[in-house]
């Protein structure tokens, strides 16, 4: 297809418009029948999917959360950005734990064939396990932590689920260090520490950052599950609460928020990643 002026803006908007229209058409609508005196006789929802709120309803219902994004009315009744912030803080903590454990682990796996053979089956088995499965285990592990139990369980789940891309990419990066660079270190008789800091880590950084980006994506995915099951305030916890409270409009608000935040995080990380690629 031929490209035209501003197509980078118009085409995505067009796509979004089509999806929103489709949603609105399929969604239910409140139909109010009135009797002769003008009193409400009956209220019912009609449409292809009656329970699904339509665009207008979603907007009307979500407005207080968007217009006052930082308001705090109650533990599970806060502005959407306030919820997002709470979720981001939790993700940041779990993600940091994942990096602190995952990067050295990946380095060791990349350096030693012995270690690779030892850990590979474990990693392959643990990697596909869903966060929903890890969380109960986390709860059990931190049973004695009392008030902090749910937070620790959530952190554990985020760290365990998001660690693997960092581990695997770092390992690949270490194995891909050009022999030339290692020869330079050998010829100059650099100490182990200097070889690591001056040669191996800089050479692995681009791979490490690819791992970091993928890990962040997973960490953000896990947050919803973690908050749902622990009932912590945050985007995911809010989503689950509103579902239980039968306020379906705000489920959509949460989904959109999670999606947009995830997208922004990925963009930010790929900017950082690209900076290291060229270095």
């Amino acid at each position: 297809m031929k490209s035209f002026k501003c197509d980078w803006l118009i085409l995505p908007l067009l796509g979004a418009l089509i999806v929103i229209l489709g949603w609105h058409v399929l969604a239910g609508k409140k139909v109010v029948t009135k009797d002769a005196e003008g009193n409400v006789a009956s209220e019912e929802r009609k449409g292809a999917i009656p329970a699904l709120p339509n665009v207008v309803e979603t907007w009307e219902s979500s407005k207080p959360y968007i217009v006052e994004p930082f308001a705090k009315r109650g533990e599970l009744d806060q502005g959407i950005l306030r919820f997002t912030w709470l979720s981001l803080v939790l993700v940041a903590k779990g993600y940091l734990i994942a990096l602190v454990i995952g990067t050295p682990l990946g380095f060791m796996i990349g350096l030693s064939k012995f270690f690779t053979k030892m850990t590979d089956p474990i990693i392959q088995v643990l990697r596909p396990v869903s966060p929903l499965a890890w969380l109960p285990l986390g709860m059990v592990l931190f049973l004695d932590a009392g008030r902090n139990a749910s937070e620790l369980a959530a952190l554990f789940t985020i760290a365990v689920c998001s660690m693997w891309p960092t581990v695997l990419n770092t390992a690949v990066g270490v194995r891909a260090i050009p022999q030339d660079y290692l020869n330079v270190a050998k010829v100059l008789k650099l100490s182990r520490f200097k070889t690591l800091t001056k040669v191996m880590i800089p050479a692995t950084l681009p791979y490490m950052f690819t791992g970091f980006r993928l890990s962040l994506g997973i960490a953000w995915l896990v947050i919803v599950a973690a908050e749902m099951l622990t009932g912590r305030p945050g985007v995911g916890g809010f989503l689950w609460q509103q579902y239980n409270a039968l306020i379906y409009e705000q489920i959509i608000l949460c989904i959109l928020t999670i999606g947009i935040v995830g997208f922004i995080l990925d963009r930010l990380m790929s900017v950082v990643e690209r900076r290291f690629k060229t270095a």
Binding site: D180, V187, L188, K189, L190, K198, A203
Partner: protein
């Protein structure tokens, strides 16, 4: 003068499913202090293997190497190496790349002294203005200049050059050969170079060692190159012996190329030594492409 470097019965074999493959066999070479020796031979003949064993980057299967009275064990900064590709660390500037080695060798020197060493060598190779640039911002030739500066800045006992100008265009190559020969003359470092460029070998070396083709490569022929030093390209090219030497080397490579390609047939009996015949067109094909087009026949060529 006594021998400074001694390679005795140097042998390299690689294990293969069909038994060990012998790359280099019983290679013997003695180099005097301050001498510039070049190994020349076809690609894959094992000359680079000899050099990397000397560098300590390739394990010695049999035989041994003595440098300045000590048997070599493993790599070390007492041998400055200029690789074919400059092998600079891309996340460091030219200055930092040279400094990395200087810090290792001159660990007792003050920070200021080390900085001066690095700056001196980078300036000498002509990078005074570009020393704080990263390799990606430098041209291929400039990167190789950094490589040369790095090797010399370590004040090594020996210089190892592995086809140092192989990846450069001929103009840059000439420039860098001049840079190298100047630095070498000032520092008087014993040097061993590997190349397949006949002119480069003649211009730089005191002695050219022709290696027979691998497998089981060994010393085939030794040519003493006694052009006066300091050398200048024009004077060297006009030296009465230049084309005699050149012919001799090309002849050697030529014979071995034929041997390689037509193995069962006996090589045509060409006597070693300077051949009287002019270069035939077929010989051009065995030379590097950059040598084609240079005056092979000239008035100064010996009969």
């Amino acid at each position: 003068m006594s021998d400074y470097v001694e390679l005795s019965n140097l042998t390299k074999t690689y294990p293969t499913p069909k038994g060990p493959a012998v790359i280099v066999k019983d290679f013997n070479l003695r180099i005097k202090k301050g001498e510039f020796v070049t190994l020349i031979g076809h690609s894959g003949c094992g000359k680079s293997t000899v050099l990397s064993m000397l560098a300590g980057l390739n394990e010695i299967t049999d035989g041994g190497i003595i440098l300045a009275g000590k048997e070599l064990a493993g790599p070390g900064p007492d041998r400055g190496i200029v690789f074919q590709s400059p092998c600079l660390l891309p996340w460091m500037t030219a200055f930092e790349n040279v400094m990395l080695g200087v810090e290792q060798v001159f660990f007792t020197a003050s920070k200021e002294e080390r900085r001066q060493i690095v700056e001196y060598y980078l300036t000498v190779v002509g990078l005074g203005d570009a020393m704080h640039k990263k390799p990606a911002e430098l041209s291929q030739g400039m990167r190789q200049r950094v490589g040369i500066a790095r090797a010399f800045a370590l004040k090594p006992k020996m210089l190892l050059l592995d086809e140092p100008f192989g990846m450069l265009d001929s103009l840059t190559r000439y420039e860098l050969q001049q840079v190298l020969i100047e630095l070498w003359r000032k520092n008087k470092i014993t040097a061993l170079m590997v190349t397949h460029d006949v002119d480069e070998a003649l211009f730089l070396s005191d002695r050219v060692i022709c290696m027979t083709d691998g497998p089981e490569a060994e010393v085939g022929d030794i040519l003493e190159v006694n052009f006066p030093r300091p050398r200048e390209r024009k004077a060297v090219m006009e030296h009465p012996d230049y084309y005699k030497f050149r012919e001799h080397l090309i002849e050697f490579l030529e014979i071995h190329a034929h041997k390689k390609h037509a193995k069962p047939a006996a090589p045509t009996a060409v006597p070693p030594g300077p051949p009287p015949s002019p270069v035939s067109p077929s010989k051009l094909s065995t030379l590097d492409s950059d040598q084609i087009g240079k005056p092979l026949k000239s008035e100064t060529a010996p009969v």
